[in-house]
């Protein structure tokens, strides 16, 4: 099953465009708050405008009406109603995943997202980066943590955010109704490239999701041309394996994102570069220009042929 069409349209990171029931409740709450606040604002400004009208003599005011009525009773009534209503609509706290939930581990790094599944069919752990795929209609339990600094997982279409604090494992329950794709972004300032730490969420129909996960669980696609052979060799010679894992080629390091299926990813560099023709080569050769301060150095000393081979091989890893 191929990935959804690219590029993504705007509004896919909007609080006002929910993709699941939890997010939709917050959206309708938001509209209530916006409309309510607007009405109260207009009312108070009308009073202010009225107070400026000129006329002869002083106008008596009843302090009780203004201070007790307007200043105490009115907000007390409105706020009590608001508190009761929002408490009723605040989702309960779940200590552990509900039965039937899919469990995904997300670890935030500076500045990329490590996403881990366990494929129940093979028992194998599946790792990818910067993308979260979900089955539509099924609850998903995200375990969130960070080994370095505080990050925050936020996909507005799925609901509220949760901070990822070193030393803690927090969680978020999400559920999407229909297949589709959305975007999220780290929402806690985490250093130089906090602005370029985006995450894409793709929801599939359940059968498609199973197929996708099975595909991700397979090891890297073997090269079937000389160019790709050269590219795979370059991956090892250039020591990319010092940080990156490609299952069945290099398995030593988890410092950087898992690249076993990087060719099928929507974006490179945590949502920074659209993964289209030429993007891979550009990312590898000019990393520090695209995302200054990223922990990956630019490979400026690779000759054009080697770069082309490496890029072709990486693109082949679908």
């Amino acid at each position: 099953m191929s990935a959804p069409l690219l590029p993504l349209a705007p509004q896919l990171q909007s609080v006002l465009a929910p993709a699941g029931e939890a997010a939709a409740r917050i959206t309708s709450l938001s509209w209530l708050l916006i409309i309510g606040a607007t009405l109260i604002f207009v009312f108070v400004m009308a009073l202010l405008a009225g107070s400026l009208r000129r006329r002869d003599g002083a106008r008596p005011v009843s302090p009780r009406l203004w201070i007790l009525g307007g200043g105490v009773v009115f907000p007390l009534v409105v706020l009590t109603a608001l508190l009761v209503w929002t408490m009723a609509r605040t989702p309960g706290w779940m200590e552990r995943p509900p039965p039937g939930a899919l469990i995904v581990g997300i670890t935030a790094h500076m500045w990329w997202w490590e996403v881990r599944y366990r494929d129940s069919a093979t028992g194998r752990e599946v790792a990818l980066a910067n993308e979260l795929h979900l089955p539509a209609g099924r609850p998903v339990w995200l375990g969130l943590s960070s080994p370095d600094v505080i990050h925050s997982f936020w996909v507005p279409a799925l609901g509220g955010k949760m901070d990822m604090v070193p030393g803690r494992v927090d969680h978020l329950m999400v559920q999407v109704d229909q297949p589709g794709s959305w975007r999220g972004q780290c929402a806690e300032y985490c250093g130089e490239q906090h602005a370029r730490m985006a995450l894409h969420v793709v929801a599939h129909a359940p059968a498609d999701f199973d197929a996708w996960l099975a595909g991700q669980a397979r090891p890297a696609a073997a090269p079937d041309a000389a160019l790709l052979e050269r590219g795979r060799a370059a991956f090892l010679v250039q020591r990319c394996n010092a940080c990156h894992t490609v299952r069945s080629v290099a398995d030593e390091s988890r410092l950087g994102p898992d690249l076993t299926h990087v060719g099928s990813r929507l974006y490179l560099g945590a949502g920074t570069l659209l993964n289209q023709r030429g993007a891979m080569a550009h990312w590898v050769a000019h990393t520090q220009d695209v995302k200054p301060g990223a922990r990956m150095p630019s490979s400026t000393d690779m000759d054009a042929d080697t770069l082309a081979a490496l890029a072709a091989w990486l693109e082949h890893l679908k």
């Binding site: 409740r25 708050l33 604002f41 009225g50 203004w66 608001l82 370029r196």
Partner: protein, 838 residues
């Protein structure tokens, strides 16, 4: 109060010849470069306001740089590194170097006149506080020119700001630089509290006190209890960075969220510390513009106090997404709603006052209307973000950026501009241009809304905070462009204001009362404040007694001259303002300036690891402070003084009647709150640990704390003994007892240290040990201070300067001594008893 004169005023005519000339000489401002040694609030207040406005402009320019970068998607005007320093400095300078200082500065300048005092009660302390702030603040700002500014955000969350992820100097500049600027704010707060409670004009009972004074009183108390939390936090983070004591490092038992608790316990009250003085100013200007007394004066006072208390319960609403307990978050959400009620009381009172009166559409009025519009909108978005699920979406997005600017710019900056227009005649005699003001207001109001309203929308469309750029296909482009355009229009308005001010303020004339305002700061003022301190009988003295100004200038009221030939004001009782004693105030001095430069030098040079130079500055500061203190605590020039016809008051006071004693008490409240914050850190870390003490750490046996406690008590007993002696006229053994107390307290520190050393305390091993060490170090710091102060008191006794009528050095030192005893006992109690509850 009945007076002995024929017409019932405190002093009769004719006044003795030369009386007003003696008054002028005593208060004369120094000229030329000697102005640096001025301590009068009339000079310090102006310097202070000007410096705060300078930082407003500088931080504003940083804001414009941010908006220029964000005007277009994927922009390359500023690099990520530069942008991150710029946004950190924008927030830090605005919050720490502009917002709080400017409201304190306005109070320093305006309050004494408004209360009927000639100056603040500790003029050299206000000078010190100002210069420390000015020198430290400018040095801190200059880091941006060297590229060594902090870049962790104004809130500086670890682990990002720990040594591992922020190895450079920037974070240290923030911690040390901002840390001691807080100290300056606290000194100002203590002074304001004492000034408001002790030096009001006779007859100005609490219920007749202007609302602005109430607002400053509440804000000052909030500073006393909120700022210590960030002092403790900055202390801990700097100890972690410098010595690897892992308070916030999870791998060794620390917790990054501990910082957030400490920071926001300060940070939330801070925004009310910024807003309440502005609300107080609004409460002064609205009645003057509407030409009718304030509706709901008492309700507003109650509302101010209510905000002061409630705001301390809200800090966790900045942490709604940090994974804290659901019950706690619901409580905080409800409290965040509750704080809207006293704010609503104030808003409705102001509108009711406008409603009742006839509003003149002047420059101050325009800004007051702008304030209402912007602040009410910001307050409503505040209610929105107090709703938990809504905050889970909009926290850390541009919706919050919009909210915070609406409440801060609406709630403080607009009232500040209203105040600048309103009180300009008090400063200079001139009114600023009304015509120009309409342009200034239009540009500022229009520019502000254009800049910040779209941010509500971009936040809801998913734009997070603190991003140096954004992708162009998310629907945020037009919104950001509009925001950037608006910010430049806002800046243009501010520029226009300063151009007009520079033009108008060039020449000073005597000021009139152009708004026909009712309160005392509008009396004719010179360097000495008002010629005589008025007897007050109402809330609106200038309305209810139209002859007051003439009477005061003629010297018909209290203290029309100077008794000692120096600077003086009256101390009155805190509730009913009955005159108690004559307070003789110090004149201009170089010591505060030198001490401030030394203090600033010490902290800044330590940051760049110039240890020798740093200690040289530190020693200079200590020498200057001792020299300055040595000049205080003199016996009165006379036992009593005639302050009105036939009315004699004592000169100065001792013990609990002395204003310096109460200042010490308030300082001890600050101290205790810092200590409580360190205890909180220890408890927080202990509760997170599975076993207390954690494996590898242990506590000393019972002997050590018991012996140390006994010695602390012995030291306090010795001090009590020393205090009893001067009253009996026996001075020789005083220094012996004080010396004994010093030895006791040094011994306790030795015992504490030795006990922990034998137990193998290793602060770098884990966070629990680090918090124990932090409390020990805090106690040790106090021991060092007691050493210096004890020796100082001995010196006073030896030299014969310690007498029964000049004993503040002993009494105030004894207060600190007893506090350190209690603190030491409490620290030991917490450390040794906590594991029993684990």
């Amino acid at each position: 109060m009945t007076f002995h004169t024929a017409d019932g005023l405190p002093s009769s005519l004719p006044r003795p010849p030369g009386e007003v000339e003696r008054l002028e000489r005593a208060w004369e401002a120094p000229k030329g470069w000697r102005l640096l040694s001025a301590v009068n609030n009339s000079q310090i207040g102006v310097f202070y306001i000007a410096t705060a406005l300078l930082f407003f402009v500088l931080a504003g320019v940083l804001g414009l740089m941010m908006r220029a970068q964000l005007a277009l998607p994927d922009n390359t005007l500023l690099s990520a590194q530069t942008y991150n320093q710029v946004f950190t400095m924008h927030g830090t300078v605005m919050m720490f170097l502009f917002a709080v200082p400017v409201v304190e500065a306005i109070a320093v300048y305006l309050l004494p006149g408004m209360l009927g005092a000639r100056d603040l009660p500790f003029p050299r302390l206000s000078a010190y506080a100002f210069w420390a702030y000015a020198i430290g603040g400018i040095a801190f700002f200059c880091t941006i020119f060297f590229g060594v500014s902090p870049d962790g955000g104004w809130f500086m969350y670890p682990p990002l700001t720990g040594k591992e992820h922020s190895p450079g100097l920037g974070a240290d500049f923030w911690l040390l630089g901002i840390g001691f600027i807080e100290i300056s704010a606290i000194a100002g707060a203590i002074e304001l509290i004492i000034g408001i409670l002790f030096t009001r004009a006779p007859g100005m009972t609490l219920s007749r006190m202007p609302v602005y004074a109430w607002a400053m009183l509440v804000s000052a108390f909030m500073i006393v209890f909120a700022f210590p939390a960030i002092i403790a936090g900055t202390l801990l983070l700097e100890l972690e960075r410098a010595f690897d004591w892992p308070f916030f490092i999870a791998a060794r038992g620390g917790d990054p969220v501990l910082w957030q608790h400490l920071f926001w316990f300060f940070g939330h009250p801070e925004v009310y510390i910024i807003f309440l003085p502005a609300a107080g100013m609004v409460s002064m200007m609205v009645p003057a513009m509407a030409r009718t007394p304030l509706v709901g004066h008492r309700a507003i006072v109650v509302a101010l106090v209510a905000v002061g208390f409630i705001s301390f319960a809200l800090w966790a609403h900045h942490m709604f997404t940090a994974g804290l307990s659901r019950h706690a978050m619901l409580f905080v959400s409800a409290a965040s709603f509750a704080v809207a009620i006293p704010s609503a009381v104030q808003v409705f009172s102001w509108i009711a006052t406008f409603w009742r009166g006839r509003v003149q559409m002047t420059a101050p009025t325009l800004f007051l209307l702008g304030f209402h519009f912007i602040f009410v909108l910001g307050g409503l978005t505040g209610i929105m973000v107090a709703v938990l699920p809504f905050d889970w979406q909009v926290h850390d997005t541009y919706f919050i950026v919009a909210h915070l600017h609406y409440v801060l710019i609406g709630g403080m900056v607009f009232p500040m501009f209203a105040g600048l227009y309103y009180w300009a005649p008090v400063f200079n005699g001139h009114r600023l241009s009304e015509r120009c003001a309409r342009w200034v207001f239009g540009l500022m109001f229009g520019g502000f809304n254009l800049a910040f309203f779209p941010m509500h929308i971009s936040g809801l469309l998913g734009m997070p905070r603190r991003v140096y750029t954004y992708a162009g296909d998310l629907g945020w482009n037009l919104l950001n462009l509009l925001s950037s355009l608006g910010s430049f229009i806002l800046a243009l308005g501010v520029l226009l204001f300063f151009i007009d001010a520079a033009r108008v303020f060039r020449k000073k004339i005597d000021h009139d009362n152009p708004w026909n305002a009712p309160t005392l700061e509008w009396l004719p003022q010179e360097d000495y404040g008002m010629r005589s301190i008025p007897q007050i009988a109402s809330r609106e003295p200038l309305w209810d007694r139209p002859t007051l100004a003439a009477e005061v200038v003629a010297g018909r009221h209290w203290l029309p001259g100077t008794h000692s030939g120096g600077r003086e004001t009256l101390v009155t009782s805190w509730r009913d303002a009955v005159p108690q004693h004559l307070l003789v105030l110090p004149g201009d001095s170089w010591w505060p300036f030198i001490a401030a430069a030394g203090t600033a030098g010490f902290f800044l040079l330590l940051t760049v690891a110039q240890v020798v130079l740093a200690f040289a500055c530190g020693i200079t500061a200590i020498v200057a402070i001792v020299a300055w203190l040595w000049q205080t605590d003199q016996p009165p020039h006379a036992a009593t003084a005639e302050v009105a016809d036939g009315i004699f008051l004592p000169v100065g006071a001792r013990g609990m009647a002395s204003h310096s004693w109460w200042a010490m008490i308030i300082l001890l409240c600050v101290d205790a709150t810092v200590f409580a914050s360190l205890v909180f850190a220890h408890v927080h870390v202990s509760m997170a640990a599975e076993v207390c003490p954690p494996p590898g750490a242990s506590l000393p046996g019972a002997f050590w704390p018991l012996a140390s406690g006994a010695l602390l008590l012995a030291g306090s007993a010795a001090m009590l003994g020393a205090q009893a002696l001067p009253a009996r006229g026996r001075r020789a053994p005083v220094w012996a007892l004080v010396l004994l107390a010093v030895l006791c307290v040094l011994a306790t520190f030795g015992l504490d240290g030795r006990g922990q050393q034998l137990a193998g305390l290793s602060p770098t091993a884990d966070a629990w040990s680090a918090t124990v060490a932090a409390m020990l170090a805090w106690q040790g710091f106090h021991v060092a201070v007691l050493l210096i102060m004890g020796l100082y008191v001995c010196a006073r006794a030896w030299s014969g300067k310690l007498r029964s009528d000049a004993r503040a050095s002993l009494d105030n030192t004894a207060l600190l001594w007893h506090y350190v005893t209690v603190q030491g006992l409490a620290a030991m109690g917490v450390i040794h008893l906590m594991p029993l509850f684990g």
